[in-house]
């Protein structure tokens, strides 16, 4: 699930929860006693549900397969699940289906009638839908309205719950606390990592499906749940009452956490250079950026390293707002959708006005994060340092994914709905056509300055972004280290995954960025003194 492929712990929870839905779907035949056995014809409404899904794909996917491709793949999966061999002319027969009525009749005729009687109708339907989604480029996933609400809460950084991650303890056959978010409701109530949950609101969890446990633990803000937990091999059982609540997590952070709360944002005391790392692009990110920008101003920073390494994001809207925070006018980028294309133009005003900025990127900078990097580069807002980004390495990612409601809205389907392009329409991964000025001007970084400022006041530093190999996604202006082989995703910078400290000394790209910024500040100071500016 790309939409839940964030790197932070909370995203991991989202990912885990989303994964539950998939795994439990796959295993739902283990608890099928109440379901309708096969052999009684297609379940009522199945044809309609299937067609609604294909309608959604056809209407919203940026590059949809044909309806027949989806139906054929779905029916094959249905037969596989039922243990029935499809007829040799299935493909031809599917291709002849044109109208909804024809499909309903076709499904009624071809619905598997024999073989594995133990497979429930529900499991067959899930298999069929999974099958038809298999041929959707970029993948697709069905989520319930409830799951969608949770996803939206995560994306809005306002998830309401206990703020834990669950896993199934295979030995105990009970849910186990894989993670407990620091400061969250569960943490405050005394829940510990690796606790096994024995009861939820008085209900024994033995052999309870993880999905059901998650369902019982979730609820509205302010409501409570009582759980009975035990540490592994401990005898003591603790009963804890937890009130569900929000715990906004950090998506933009500084150099190191302060014991008093907040972040240190200057890399080294002697340099007026700030450091911010974006670890996730969520609705709160522009707000967090603003707050840290103010802190940097107050603490005397005049240049910025923006760390986008390891950042994968698929949510377009918060990325647009984040890019807008950096840009004073200019084109953020273009998005091609099934309904046309949209060019996003930045509003006036920007954070870090007049500051030179270097953005660190790597092969894992992907999706809308890569688009953000391209916007900073194309608007001369930041020089990029690091290794080339994801998209042209054969990695998917320069796409936007969105949930699309299906039918009456009880379900949604997460689809690739947009393709990200640079503001001038070039694909992120294309050769840098249209950017020749950078190749010759030797000025890959331009602090955002007012128009009236003499040109001598702007910095012109570093190398240009030409060089060998033009198949890169967003190509850095300054390549540092070896490019990761195509098809692989480089590891994130060491020591930064779990809130650990940045280690500037051992971070070669960061050192390069600081060198560039120091030089830029020096040049600006010289230029300003030359023009009598303060």
């Amino acid at each position: 699930v790309k939409s839940a492929r964030g790197k932070t712990l909370t995203s991991f929870i989202a990912c885990t929860l989303a994964a539950f839905a998939v795994s439990s779907s796959a295993n739902s035949d283990d608890s099928s006693s109440k379901s309708q056995p096969v052999g009684r014809g297609a379940p009522a409404g199945l044809a309609k549900r299937v067609l609604e899904i294909t309608d959604a794909v056809l209407e919203h996917h940026i590059d949809p397969p044909t309806r027949q491709q989806m139906l054929l793949s779905g029916i094959k999966a249905l037969y596989r699940k039922a243990g029935v061999r499809p007829s040799h002319d299935l493909s031809r027969r599917v291709s002849e289906v044109v109208t909804p009525e024809q499909f309903e009749a076709f499904l009624a005729r071809t619905y598997p009638q024999s073989a594995n009687q133990a497979v429930s109708a529900e499991a067959l339907e899930e298999a069929m839908i999974e099958g038809l989604l298999q041929v959707v480029p970029g993948g697709a996933q069905m989520i319930s309205a409830k799951e969608r609400k949770v996803n939206e809460q995560f994306q809005g950084n306002r998830y309401v719950g206990l703020h834990i991650a669950l896993a199934m303890d295979d030995q105990e056959k009970r849910p186990r606390l894989a993670e407990v978010m620091e400061g969250g409701p569960a943490d405050r109530a005394g829940v510990k990592k690796d606790d096994t949950i024995e009861q939820i609101d008085g209900v024994d969890t033995k052999a309870m499906r993880l999905r059901d446990a998650v369902d019982r633990l979730r609820g509205e803000e302010g409501t409570s749940v009582t759980i009975r937990v035990r540490q592994p091999k401990a005898k003591e059982v603790r009963t804890l009452r937890i009130t569900r609540g929000r715990l906004p997590h950090t998506t933009v952070r500084g150099v190191r956490k302060r014991s008093s709360g907040g972040w240190d944002v200057r890399i080294e005391g002697s340099d007026p250079i700030g450091y911010l790392q974006i670890t996730e692009i969520a609705a709160s990110s522009p707000h967090e950026l603003r707050a840290l920008a103010r802190q940097l101003e107050v603490e005397g920073a005049r240049a910025l390293v923006l760390d986008l390494r390891g950042l994968h994001a698929v949510n377009l809207h918060p990325t647009v707002l984040l890019a807008d925070s950096f840009l004073d006018h200019g084109s953020i980028g273009k998005v091609e959708t099934a309904h046309g294309e949209t060019i996003y133009q930045a509003d006036s005003d920007a954070l870090f006005r007049n500051w030179p900025v270097v953005a660190l990127v790597d092969g894992a900078t992907s999706g809308t994060a890569e688009w953000l990097a391209a916007a900073l580069q194309d608007n001369h807002r930041a020089a990029l340092v690091g290794v080339p980004t994801s998209s042209a390495r054969g990695m998917p990612g320069a796409d936007v994914q969105s949930p699309i409601s299906v039918g009456d809205g009880a379900w949604s389907i997460i689809l690739t709905t947009g393709r990200l392009q640079r503001g001038d329409g070039q694909p992120l991964g294309a050769e840098l056509i249209g950017h020749e000025q950078d190749r010759s001007s030797n000025s890959s970084i331009h602090p955002l300055r007012a128009e009236s400022t003499p040109k001598s006041g702007s910095a012109a530093i570093g190398q240009n972004r030409t060089g060998a190999g033009s198949k890169y996604g967003v190509k850095p202006d300054h390549t540092v280290g070896e490019a990761t082989p195509a098809g692989t995703r480089p590891a994130r910078p060491r020591g930064r995954d779990n809130g650990q400290e940045l280690v500037p000394g051992s971070d070669e790209p960061l050192q390069k960025a600081m060198q560039i910024l120091r030089e830029s500040l020096r040049r600006t100071a010289r230029a300003d003194s030359g023009t009598g500016q303060k």
Binding site: Q155, N157, A283, H287, L321, D347, A450, E451, S452
Partner: protein, 600 residues
Amino acid sequence: MVRPSFAQLVGAFLVAGFWSIAPAQGTRGSEPGSDVSQVRQVRQPIALACLDGGRRIVVANGRSGSVSIIDTRTQRIVAEYPVARALADLALLPGANHLITLDSLANELLLLRNGDQSIEVVSRVKVSPDPIRLVVSADGESCVVASRWSRRLTFVTLSKPESSGMSPTVSMNGSLDLPFCPREMAMLGNGPAIVVVEAFGGRLAIVDARRRVIESVRTLPGHNIRGLAFDRNGRTLVIAHQVLSRLAQASFDDVHWGLLVRNHLRVLQTEALLRPGSDASLLEGGRLFDLGDVGYAAGDPSALTVDVKGNLIVALAGVDEIGITPSPAQAPRRTVVGRRPTGLAASPDGSVVYVADALDDTVSIVDIRTGQRLASIALGQRPDLTAAERGERLFSSAKLSHDGWMSCHSCHTDGHTSNLLSDTLGDGSYGAPKRIPSLLGVAKTGPWTWTGSMARLEDQIRKSIKTTMHGSDPTQEQVADLSAYLNSLALPSPAARAIGQSDSQAVARGRRVFEFQKCATCHAPPDYTSPKNYDVGLVDEVGNRQFNPPSLRGVSQRDALFHDGRARSLDEVFRKVRHPRDLVLSREEIADLSAFLGTL
């Protein structure tokens, strides 16, 4: 009783001659000097000033047109004098013997004498229609009046009296047309530079008051500019305003995280302000500070003042608070005051600030050092509020929104429009930001929304509160009150804009063009709209082609036209957009049609 001096009479005559308007008629309503503090009425205090070294406070009551006097020692009302039909703004002349205020209905500037026992009107002179703000030079010898709907500055000379016991002579000294509706102004010392900002959008002009010319007009990234104050040494100008993002959506997330509407103090360098240049150059060396935060927003920042110690005091009108801070970089300490604080006056010794709580008819006294509200002084008895008056309170309350980020007024500034685009669910989806419509005269322009999807105004009110402001579900009474308030909003005066510019022949020709081109098919008189939707060759970002025609009543006072604001003037509507459907008109026809539409 007012007994104007010979000099004043001469001054008034000269003024009347200048404007070709009959001389001022003298004080209306109750006898000047009579105390009406016991009269039951809605007052709406909008401005105040300290008299006699802070021993008394004079309060200008916008709605009742009276001035109230407060004894600061006893914290009681000692008198109230009716001086006008309605008041806008108040300024003290050096020496504190005289005050200037504006009668916003009679379109007059009033010179008041601060007598021992009473406040007396000593002269009245006509100014351009809809006067809303005045600024007085440090030496008290000149004054500039900003008139909103007539988009004009009026320059006034205040001649020194021959003897100390006499009043200055007021005389008009010309006027200057502006490209926008002005509101707030600030003058540094004796000028000649005056900062004039737009009432609705973000335009800011520097005007040379001596030469009466516009030096520059630039646009700030922001709107609803309600506070202007130079710091004590005049090096920076602090501005209180809001920002509405065109890229944000009116979703819960964007409202919650302060991405849709934000409230700010902006600091501009005076040097950058006075140096002509681009919009960006205006921001050179400037800084932007947030007012409020997530969970604790500060909707609708309003009046600003700087006390003798340099403390900055800002009224947070939407959340009924004021904020006090020694520096804009420091989050203000916030104090709850009365409803809609819109006027501030710090005491001469810097100990307290007096706050005009416009919609509570009270004056709050707040200790500047501690932030404690020391007192709330009722200005007099008040009748039960009408539905429209209750609606006005709701309209200007950010408490109607999630966490207090915005009120209705934040976008529909003064019931009009900020002329900005906002991406709400008004058209059924996100992705196609729409121009915020003016609500002046809105009662007659149904169905509502750009796509005409709302048959009842009440439903649209409820929807805006729930899906744009993300406030609690309003009660039926609240919706009815808001509807009553919207129904009470009158159209802006088109005549005001057209002072001296209206060409009756051009208007008549323009009317014929309107008729010949069958414009009334969609824009049918008398309200120049119609209930159906039409495809006139416009399409928005999400594919909508059918739009409900906006009323053309008051159209000349809108500075952005069409659903996406693609035209910035009536001329652009026909010349650039060629509305409707690539209609080609001659230059003369466009001028005539614009002249006709300008009268609606």
